[in-house]
């Protein structure tokens, strides 16, 4: 009898592959028995995985790295042999801020450099008038959402810690907080931007892919010690995620995937919205709920150590941890390739950011210096 694996997840569109494993009965194919448990916070996911209440979890990639490096409240070695997808985030801003950006923008509003510079002028004017700083929401201190916001702000020479306020807001509260004017914008994953737009609370300003091409997002995280002592179960689950990725990428399964993600969304999201989040069908009238660039294909689930290094670098840039070669090595080790499957080739380049030079794993300090150079001017 196979051991039942308890897997925690947060109800988001990018928990898709876990739902596919369960709904498409890949558990039988890969000799697994799994239970999916919905959680309401990333802190719960972390604590329950570390304390052994979960065997595996849908986890923010930077959160898994933070726990392993001992900077995320609890320290415990975690490993993420497979990712659960790429991209899916977007920036949504209040209508008032959108209109202010439109007035200030010199150029194409779809260019994040243009909006970042326009934002910088708004920020400067508010400072002159001694108005409170603009407030932007993200989902967790160790999240790509947080880092994407910081990268955008830096492009406008806006200091993310001094010139604006960055706060964590639980995704279910984002739209409401934006409508009440307590937030001016936020970066959140699917389907929450679409939910906010549908509720008339805000306007999508940029897709996450405008800021970072193929941004690492969620991973399937295990306690390293558990994965080592349960090689068979962990290996089968990783293979099942591969199977789910092939299933989800097949055009013939699109409708079934949309139905599944609509049913598992955790709130009322129309199937048509899920279709657009996934980028199909390509409808010219889809704007402003455009595709998020969310990817579940086999390339997208490779946990490549260079992505872990890139995320660690973002943590350093955010002032969450110091730079050291030892930390960099420990971060890369979290994305340990699955030993039971074929070796995962290293993609040569890390995730590409719109406004910074290419990321090189061999020279992180100079990449960090270039981030600083594009950063706050004061």
């Amino acid at each position: 009898m196979t051991q039942r694996l308890r897997i925690g997840y947060v109800p988001l569109t990018d928990a898709a592959l876990l739902h596919v494993v369960k709904a498409q009965n890949l558990t039988a194919e890969y000799g697994l028995d799994i239970e999916l448990i919905a959680e309401s916070s990333w802190a719960n996911i972390r604590d329950k995985l570390v304390a052994g209440h979960f065997d595996a979890a849908h986890m923010l990639a930077p959160a898994a790295i933070a726990v392993s490096l001992g900077i995320g409240q609890i320290e415990a070695p975690l490993m993420a042999p497979v990712a659960l997808g790429l991209n899916g985030n977007a920036f949504t801003v209040s209508k008032a801020l959108f209109e202010a950006l439109l007035r200030e923008a010199e150029g194409d509003m779809s260019d994040p450099r243009v909006t970042a510079r326009a934002l910088a002028r708004i920020v400067a004017r508010r400072r002159e008038k001694a108005e409170p700083p603009l407030t932007f929401g993200h989902v967790f201190p160790f999240s790509s959402h947080h880092y994407q916001l910081r990268l955008w702000l830096r492009a406008g020479h806006i200091d993310p810690d001094e010139d604006v306020r960055l706060v964590v807001v639980p995704p279910p509260f984002m739209a409401e907080t934006l409508r009440k004017g307590q937030l001016d914008g936020f970066c959140v994953g699917a389907p929450w931007n679409s939910v906010a737009v549908a509720a008339g609370a805000g306007i999508i300003l940029h897709q996450g892919t405008d800021i970072v091409q193929d941004c690492p997002e969620k991973v399937l995280a295990f306690r390293t010690e558990w994965a080592r002592s349960h090689k068979e179960e962990a290996g089968s689950l990783v293979e099942a995620i591969g199977g789910a990725s092939r299933w989800a990428s097949s055009p013939s399964n699109r409708n079934a995937l949309v139905t599944l993600l609509t049913a598992t969304a955790g709130q009322d999201v129309p199937a048509a919205t899920i279709e657009r989040i996934l980028g199909y069908p390509a409808s010219p009238s889809a704007s402003p709920l455009v595709a998020t660039g969310l990817r579940f294909d086999e390339e997208a689930i490779k946990a490549s150590p260079i992505q872990a290094l890139w995320l660690y670098t973002q943590m350093v840039a955010a002032g969450q941890i110091a730079y050291s070669d030892a930390f960099a090595e420990a971060a890369a080790a979290v994305y340990e390739p699955d030993s039971s499957g074929p070796p995962i080739p290293d993609t040569a380049a890390g995730p590409a950011v719109f406004d910074t030079p290419a990321f090189s794993a061999n020279d992180i300090p100079s990449y960090l210096a270039s981030l600083k150079a594009t950063g706050p001017s004061r």
Binding site: A43, N44, H53, V167, V168, V169, F173
Partner: protein
């Protein structure tokens, strides 16, 4: 004697929060504030300036607390999750009870531990109470269904109460079901056919 610790309780369930508050007061903690609405959470916490924050694990606002250990501007004193490294079972017990604790930096573990112990035991007591209440409620509903089904059988077959009950019990035994399930089937059938 050190000053009384200020404690903030974040819980959507007002009954559970009241039970916890009562327990903390009984243990000598007079400065307990319940936050039920998680809008403006940071501002509320800033105003209370608590030494200890107790939060229900079902609250998505746990992630809001996670940023506070670094956010010096919003919160006067840095806050961290309470992890007693000498007590491995503590996190486990807290997760089982459905609660988590955050403390201001530097607060001694021996001052916090009894508070968390009280919290865990009150959360567990509340869960037990809730379960007992649900059991009592479902027993009452079973009782009502059985009485209604019995009346239907009595009328349909013109038999006295004891025989109707014996008949239902016989069917339940033969089919390996609870008598309440048989009663519900009778009611459903009667509604369909009636």
């Amino acid at each position: 004697m050190s000053r009384d610790l200020r404690i903030a309780v974040i819980d959507k369930n007002p009954l559970r929060a009241a039970i916890l508050e009562e327990g903390l007061r009984a243990a000598g903690h007079m400065s307990v504030t319940h936050i039920d609405d998680t809008a403006d959470l940071l501002d509320r916490i800033h105003a209370i300036d608590p030494d200890v924050i107790l939060i229900d694990l079902e609250s998505p606002s746990r992630d809001v607390l996670e940023q506070m250990f670094k956010m010096s501007r919003s919160v006067a004193r840095p806050i961290a999750m309470f992890v007693d490294r000498s007590d491995a079972g503590m996190i486990d017990a807290a997760i089982d009870a459905g609660v988590s604790a955050y403390i201001v930096d530097g607060l001694r573990s021996d001052r916090v531990k009894p508070i968390l112990d009280t919290t865990i035991s009150r959360f567990n007591a509340f869960a037990k109470l809730k379960k007992e209440l649900e059991t009592a409620k479902s027993q009452l509903e079973d009782r009502k269904a059985i009485d209604r089904a019995k009346a239907l059988v009595m009328r349909a077959k013109s038999i006295p109460e004891e025989r109707a009950y014996a008949l239902m019990r016989q069917v339940a035994m033969n089919e390996g079901k609870k008598i309440a399930e048989v009663a519900r089937s009778i009611i459903t059938a009667a509604e369909l056919l009636g």
